[in-house]
């Protein structure tokens, strides 16, 4: 009898997969039998409804692999990059790291805000002509970490608004720092304003119905819907923030996926700072993960403009700097060397554009596949995510059925909030071959 043959993708997934305790579902109350301390569990942690979304998907992925070892499972689920990093970038990282073994090349602690040359190249190349100074750029180990640090900065006494559906990091970090009450049956936490983004409103909330909140988290191009907000929409958002005295946290992790051509609404902005007046109301966060394949290398940045002030007039950047110096010790110097190589040469920028192009082509395949099946499909043109409607069906059921029948991992829309119910997110991060194979299987199943 032959041994089950796993694909290398499956093998790699299992190699990095979690150990037993890691996988224990958080919402299932487990109690150890031994002596307990007298320290009360943080009530904010108790409010969390279940495990973070993406490890939950991993758990299901692993369980499926064990159930069907011959299945050749294809992941279009977690947005995990698969294309190798261009060698112009990795060579720079290797060169930097070898220099750390020499007296001249050794560097110890870097500035917590990041190496000045990297901050400068981001200000120049990512924000040309937008008036962003290098001193306003804070280098990090990624957007998810920045979101946590920003929530720690804001503290428990601010209110937040999020898109619905949304990347779960904004909500979960808000719960953890104590900004919310408990969740209701629909999974909405008391105290958060959920701004519905649906096909019916062109994936932009009706701001006239959104209550005032201190902070507004907005992701564009959006995870999970794939919608890139138009310049007009972002002007409306900035005006809304200004009228309400709110701070926008604008997540541009997918900015490189914005199509050059634009659409009926024009070319989509790649930064909130393309909108006049944004400097006084917005923080922007971004990441090298999805354009440079740095999901494991860990590098990102936050822009906090000098003009952004609290109600008492104090600059937000000053407190953020204090957080960065106290709760963090800088992104890895090796990762920063890689970031510099990405952005500081035409060769580096072209190389990452090519990688983004691979994923955009994959997204096109997925959009065409679902469209040809008569499904309502969104995203995929300015984003690596395709957002498919399955009307009248629970998204976790659709997820499970797709997984069982086609061995393709997706992400159920309700994982991103109640507004995601009835949708499935399909990600374009995989090799072309696997995306084509997945597309073929989905066509057969959904036909």
């Amino acid at each position: 009898m032959g041994m089950p043959v796993m694909t290398d993708e499956e093998q790699r997934f299992l190699e990095k997969s979690v150990l037993p305790l890691d996988a224990a579902p958080i919402h299932v109350k487990t109690t150890g039998g031994g002596p307990r301390t007298s320290v009360l569990r943080n009530p904010n942690m108790e409010k969390l409804q279940k495990g973070y979304l993406f490890p939950e998907i991993s758990i299901k992925h692993e369980a499926h692999l064990k159930k069907y070892p011959d299945a050749k499972v294809i992941s279009l689920g977690i947005g995990d990059t698969t294309e190798p990093i261009p060698s112009v970038i990795t060579s720079a990282m290797a060169e930097y790291v070898l220099a750390l073994s020499t007296p001249e090349g050794y560097q110890g602690y870097g500035p917590e805000q990041g190496q000045m040359n990297l901050r400068k190249v981001i200000a120049e190349k990512v924000y040309p002509a937008m008036g962003i100074k290098e001193s306003e750029v804070f280098i990090s180990d990624g957007a998810q970490c920045d979101i946590a640090r920003l929530q720690t900065l804001f503290g428990p006494n601010v209110t937040i608004a999020v898109q619905d559906p949304t990347f779960p990091g904004y909500v979960d970090n808000g719960v953890i720092v104590g900004q919310t009450g408990s969740a209701d049956e629909a999974g909405k936490y008391a105290g958060i304003a959920y701004m519905r983004c649906a096909p019916e409103n062109h994936f932009f909330p009706d701001l006239s119905r959104v209550p005032h909140t201190d902070v507004i988290f907005f992701c564009s191009p959006n995870n999970p819907t794939g919608h890139a907000a138009s310049a007009a929409q972002l002007r409306e958002l900035v005006d809304f923030a200004r009228r309400n005295g709110s701070i926008i946290v604008f997540d541009t992790a997918y900015a490189w996926y914005v199509s050059e051509a634009g659409d009926g609404e024009g070319k989509k902005p790649r930064s909130i700072y393309e909108v006049p007046g944004a400097r006084e109301v917005a923080i922007e966060i971004s990441s090298f993960s999805k354009f440079a394949g740095f999901t494991g290398v860990r590098l990102g940045w936050a822009v906090v403009p000098d003009e952004l002030r609290y109600a008492d007039g104090s600059p937000v950047a000053r407190d953020f700097d204090r957080i960065v110096c106290t709760c963090f010790n800088g992104a890895s110097s090796v990762a920063q060397a890689g970031g510099l190589a990405c952005l500081s040469t035409e060769e580096g920028r072209d190389a990452v554009r090519r990688v983004v192009g691979v994923y955009k082509d994959n997204a096109r395949v997925l959009v065409d596949t679902f469209a040809s099946l008569g499904k309502e499909v969104y995203g995929g043109t300015d984003s690596p995510y395709v957002w498919v409607r399955f009307p009248g069906r629970r998204s976790w059921d659709v997820f499970a059925e797709i997984l069982e029948k086609t061995h393709v991992i997706t992400v159920p829309g309700s994982g991103f909030g109640p507004g995601g119910e009835g949708f499935i997110r399909v990600s374009a991060f995989n090799s072309r071959d696997r995306v084509l194979e997945a597309a073929a299987r989905l066509k057969k199943f959904l036909a």
Binding site: S87, S91, G108, G178, N329, A335
Partner: protein
């Protein structure tokens, strides 16, 4: 930068906890003073024995492994995207096997991070605002500052130089740098660093037995910072888990920074035993795991490849040599101050020398040493009121700089 009163302001209230912080974090403040001094005396040959910044190159066996991993990321077979947030399995296993063999700590108790300072903040986020903490006095400032930021404290009290609601456990020459626990009220969390930053004191087995018993009797959690464990020369315990019963009361943090020169590369780890439970029986590790998955995305895979090489036989020997080099530096500094008649502490088990300047304000001594000898140190009061009257001299530096600094100290005093 003065704010223009007419400038636009949002309506967002500043986090009141941030407003409680007295000044900038200690080490950027030291860096600022150094920079100011350099502006004033551009030709000064400043020697930095302030911030504990490593100076010696990373051994080749470690950087070669990192370079190899970097190159592999450009290949189809070698590319890896998101890693497990808790760390790569091999790294967790190597840490458990190297440092916690026979102590009953398993791979899955290990959480790999981008360094101890970051872990301290994540632990504080985990604990939340409604816990009370105790710290040594003096102590590494991140425990206190992160506590203020989390909202665990009251306002700063200028007269005693302490934040309200923190228990400061005095550690001084008089008590052998170990607090008299009979006078310490119960707190939920006890931060304890050994070998200590800044005093250099390494707690004995007997002292740690007392600490663990104290925590057990009070139902408290110890956060044990072992960042300098490899600097221990005598038989002081290197891990809190060497103490029986510690698994039920302690978390341990550690770092590659001061062993492998990873201060810029960023790699460390935290151990949370399965046996550590909140009062309702919920395992602390489960909540920390949730924090790590939500507020973090794992240490850099390249840094982890370096960590794995650090823990190979060749890497361990290389780290041992680097630590030995800094320990020799420490001896030079200790001998210098001792020969000048100062009372000097620490040094034997740590890369820090804690020098007593009785009756003198430590920032004044810091300024005097900087102005007159062009040497940066760290004033003891930056670590808490218990540090007043002391200066911390760190032993990280090229050998010729350490020797030159010693010469300048001899001249000055």
């Amino acid at each position: 930068m003065a704010a223009d009163p007419a400038a636009y302001k949002t309506n967002v209230p500043r986090n009141a906890n941030m407003a409680k912080l007295q000044a900038g974090y200690l080490f950027p403040e030291i860096a600022r003073r150094r920079a100011t001094h350099l502006l004033k005396y551009p030709d000064a040959k400043i020697i930095s024995l302030g911030i504990g910044d490593t100076t010696e190159p990373i051994p080749n066996v470690i950087t070669n492994a990192m370079a190899e991993r970097a190159h592999a990321l450009s290949t189809i077979d070698g590319y890896s995207g998101y890693g497990a947030e808790q760390g790569e399995k091999k790294v967790r296993a190597a840490i458990a096997a190297t440092y916690y063999a026979d102590l009953g700590i398993e791979d899955s108790d290990i959480f790999v991070s981008d360094g101890a300072k970051c872990d301290i903040s994540r632990l504080q986020v985990l604990f939340g605002s409604n816990v009370t903490i105790a710290v040594q006095d003096p102590s590494y400032p991140a425990y206190v500052d992160s506590s203020v930021i989390m909202g665990q404290t009251d306002l700063y009290e200028q007269d005693v130089q302490k934040y309200g609601n923190i228990e400061y456990m005095r550690c001084s020459p008089e008590n052998g740098f170990f607090p008299d626990l009979s006078t310490v009220p119960r707190t939920d969390i006890i931060f304890f660093c050994s070998p200590n930053n800044p005093t250099g004191a390494a707690a004995s087995r007997d002292q740690l037995n007392k600490l663990v018993k104290f925590a057990k009797d009070n139902g408290s959690i110890i956060v044990y910072d072992s960042a300098y464990a490899m600097y221990i020369s005598d038989d002081s315990p290197k891990s809190i888990f060497e103490i029986p019963g510690a698994k039920e009361v302690a978390i341990e943090t550690a770092s590659f920074s001061k062993y492998a020169g990873f201060t810029g590369v960023r790699l460390g780890w935290t151990v949370i035993p399965k046996e550590l439970l909140f009062s309702d029986g919920h395992p602390v590790a489960k909540d920390f795991n949730r924090i790590v998955c939500t507020c973090f995305n794992g240490a850099s895979n390249i840094a982890q490849a370096g960590g794995l090489a650090c823990l190979s036989p060749e890497g361990l020997k290389a780290m041992h040599d680097v630590v030995g080099f800094y320990k020799e530096n420490t001896k030079i500094i200790v001998d210098t101050f001792t020969s000048l008649g100062f009372n000097v502490y620490g040094a034997k088990n740590a890369p820090y020398v804690w020098v007593h300047f009785p009756g003198r304000n430590s920032w004044d001594v810091f300024a005097e040493i900087l102005e007159k000898a062009n040497v940066v140190t760290t004033p003891g009061s930056g670590f808490g009121p218990g540090g007043e009257g002391f200066v911390r001299v760190s032993a990280f530096g090229h050998r010729e700089n350490i020797i030159e600094a010693a010469r300048r100290f001899k001249q000055l005093y």
